[in-house]
Amino acid sequence: MKNTQLKNPTIKGGYFIIGDTPPEELFIAEEFDEEAIMMGDTVREFCVKEIQEPFFKCGKELVVTNEADKAEVLAILKRAGDLGLCGVSISEENGGMDLDFKTNTLISSKLSYGFSFATTLGAQTSIGCLPIVYYGNEEQKQKYLPKIASAEYVAAYALTEPNAGSDANSGKTNARLSEDGKYYLINGQKIWITNGGFADVYIVFAKIDTDEKLSAFIVERTFEGFSVGAEEKKFGIKGSSTVQIFFDNCKVPVENLLGEQQGGFKMALTILNGGRIKAGAGAIGGAINGLDRAVQYAKERKQFKVPISSFGAIQYKIGDIAMRIFANQAACFRTADLIDKKYNSLRSSGLSDGSAKIKAISEFAIEASIVKVKGSELVCYALDEAMQIHGGMGYSSETGLGMGYRDARITKIYEGTNDINALLAVAELSKRGMLTKELDLVGAGKKIPTFLLSQINPFRSKSNDKEQDRIVKGLKYSFLYISGMAGKKLKKKLIDEQEIILNLSTILQEAYVGETALLKVQKLRGLPDSDKNKLAIQKQMVQLYLYEALEKSKKAALEAIASFSTGSEKWRHIKIINRMLKPYDINPKTLRRNIAQALIESGEYVY
């Protein structure tokens, strides 16, 4: 799978589905420099000191509907500001650190040690301030960013409305110019505003007059006509503030229009794209925490005179979660690094800092959606199983697992629901293939017959490398094949067949994550200083991941086929998919056991 038309093919969003990436081009977590690692450690230490020790480890939960807890959360945020944690994405001249995207992603991953505080700090450093970082003019940057970096100002992002959630552009909040032309008068309401209860600055999206698209405004809490509702009572992330905000002829100075008029919708999407990768990273961090606690408990808890970690049923869970963490984390850092690479190439071609960041993030919208969906599914699964391993103890508030379980659930909902993101990934890819023609999906699809011919041999290859290679190719080609066939059959009606698009999305997700896991191990094998013992386990994780990816994708592929074809046509498709996704002959039980035993030995996830 090669595409020679693109100048820098691997730094192209969605390219993974039509072409190969050489392993040496993949960024892996082992390549983070000393500075990034130290920053990650600082975030972790901060969360342990401020959240885990005083609250989590004592079975306490911060609940912001309680005023004292709300004040405590705000105080913790201010202390995070003192440590520089609020300025990670802000330029140095505006009081921040201007860290690259992958270091930011690493930080998001470590923030998971702070449970719901990750949401509070995430809103401050990501959705609350990035609109100004990316789109603000110099005056706006100088006025707001230094104060957000130091946490003197708390920032929030206000997009959702009672009747405008996933369909964000349908919002009713309106802005009109005052008679003297000095203010926009905003009227309307926004809901689910993270940090809203104590924020000083809100990025608010509203339509000016009868505009078709949203514009963005910087609204200060003190502006006339602005008010904040009560704290929402939520299922989880109770330590993060979530409120409604109201605008009653709220007077916003004209200079607080952020970016271009009607540029708000695009801005909102760009900000969410970037946020999705960090949300995915945070979710994976949460899964690691849950797994570590489960391993620790399983080693200590004895039943039938032996630690429960010695049981196959428990090892199944530990091995399975660890394998998924390995693959998804690799995909997460891969995506973050691609954004950095794209940004650097755009900068060297003369684009401004803000524009280069926006373009680089938008470029990897497909991968961002995948990382978000997969990461959030993983953390929910991992914490469910971590609780299961703890048995009755897991259900007790004392262990804090229930809090983690509830906190994790939001990750499938925020930054765009998983359903929307899964659909978006496919929609964006097809747009790039069919509309803008950035990706030669048709050309890649033409190679399917050659691939199928190579799969005629009924005997499996003796080389594990070749087997893994054909699985990744099979995932990619089966996506191309089914999307091609479904498109041919249903034409424009395909867009209404969300079930089929979700099936396609499943294959797309597995192709990206599966390929990344394989590339990581291939890269590690080529590095002279790789830890051999770790590598032995990582190789097994890849085998297990590809096995799972193949089985899951096959089910999705067959369901899709049954949705759009019948009779002999259907059987022809099934035959082709069976050849593309031939079973992977491994022993999953042994692999899970081996992985689990390595984790039980090390006591924590170290891969």
Binding site: T42, F46, L85
Partner: protein, 246 residues
Amino acid sequence: MNLLVCISKTPETTAKIAFKDENSSFDTDGVQFIMNPYDEWYALVRALELKEQHGGKVIAINVGDSSNDPVIRKALAIGADEAVRVDIEATSSFFVAKQVAEYAKSNDIDIVFTGKETIDYNGAEVGGMIAEMLEQPYFSFASHMDHDGSTATVTRDIEGGVEVAEINGKFVISAAKGLAEQRIPNMRGIMMAKRKPLNVIPAVEAEGNVKVLSYELPPVKGGITMVDADDMDKLVKLLHEEAKVL
């Protein structure tokens, strides 16, 4: 005030300990290293506080090869102004003390800080040796220290209580819990760390007349045998035949 803080690299607290070369040296394979917590949390932070109060500079010193640099840069990230690494393997407490003392002598150091011990070999020796070599007073296990710029009041932990002493002039102090509160390196500090000087200097000669013969892990704890409270015969038998204490 010139403050010198000894920084040691120690295995991470959960590291698995194993030995090699016929049990005569620590097997570092696969071990993660950290800054010795007594050096980081108490010695370094108290030195930084003194500098913030009275001015001057904080210099972190370490004896070892370049693999120690990440740990040294963490000291710079936390706030040390500069660092020195004596470029040679640290073979014994005496050898390390000699290197530190020589540096302190030629750099007009007012106070030398060490942690009360390193969490690996637990020698608690280096501070005392440095003091002897510098012919200065030594305060071990200090849990509190006030300094008005000329006179220091030091509280030392002693068996069952504390001892409070006063000192004018230069001295060496080993830091115990309580001397300061851990500081997490802030983001700016981390970014500044690589811009601060880390000077690598050659070692001075020192007699290496101590040779470790062997290390041994603590014996594995045996299992517990439960004996029925009424079964005294069995208990006596076990104590006699297995525990061999009767």
